[in-house]
């Protein structure tokens, strides 16, 4: 318990920023997906840190993390399936080239 809570939160913020940066700036859709995973992980760290420091007796924080795991797994599966399917028809998964819906 010697580590202050704010260290964890700042660490999570840094990781979240890195992930957000990847989502905003990477061209490859798989890299964007990895950025999303980084962000989800940062959120998980926050949830667990808040659980440990603020409400250790109530395990809702950990339970939420498990739900995030579930969503992340589902998101990765569907996202990669989408990318494979897009790659088959368009031979690219660069997000700035997949812009048919742009007006």
């Amino acid at each position: 318990m010697t580590v202050p809570l704010s260290w964890y939160l700042i660490f999570a913020t840094a990781l979240f920023s890195l992930g957000f940066f990847a989502v905003l700036s990477r061209r490859n859709a798989v890299a964007v997906l990895m950025g999303v995973e980084l962000m989800l992980n940062a959120v998980n760290v926050n949830l667990v840190a808040f659980w440990r420091y603020l409400t250790p007796s109530d395990l809702s924080g950990q339970i939420f993390v498990v739900f995030v795991f579930t969503v992340a797994a589902a998101e990765a599966a569907v996202g990669l399936a989408l990318m494979i399917s897009i790659y088959r028809t368009r031979k690219t998964i660069n997000v700035d080239e997949i812009n048919d819906l742009n007006l």
Binding site: M1, T2, V3, L5, S6, Y8, L9, I10, F11, A14, S17, L18, G19, F20, F21, A22, L24, S25, R26, N28, V30, A31, M34, G35, E37, L38, N41, V45, V48, R52, L54, P56, S57, L59, S60, Q62, I63, V65, V66, F67, F69, T70, V71, A72, A73, A74, E75, A76, A77, V78, L80, A81, L82, I84, S85, Y87, K91, T92, V95, D96
Partner: protein, 163 residues
Amino acid sequence: MVGQILFIIIAAFTLLMGLGTVVARNLFHAALFLVGVFFGIAALFILLEAEFLAMAQIIIYIGAIATLIVFAIMLSKGMMGREAGAYNKQWYFAGGAMILFFGLLSWLLVKMPFAAANASAPDDAIQQIGSGFVGHYVVPFEVASVLLLVALVGAIMLARERN
């Protein structure tokens, strides 16, 4: 003291791996860096006395998600798109915004006082999580299982070859 040193080592490692994930041009390397991040996060969970989550993190993130990503990358070599640049036109703008975002949030976090409860983690955390899933959180739990099923079917439908 030991905890702080451990935290700094793990956090630095994880952030370095995260940076690698973001900047690596080679997607496969990015995926391997991502594995490093997941590992570091699992170590942090152990530091936070959430052993169950640490193990679940390794099983789900490294065993399933990272493997899936690597598999998808390997399946379609053209997916890498190495000839094109890794970043789009707005990367410097995004980078600046993120540095600003990080600076602002960490400033807030340093300023903000948290009333840390000095209680120890419960010994029967796993049992409590388990009973939480079938008790208070039973509806979200069932919805999550349906979500997984839908994702399973959806992923197969999307990725299968139609001929």
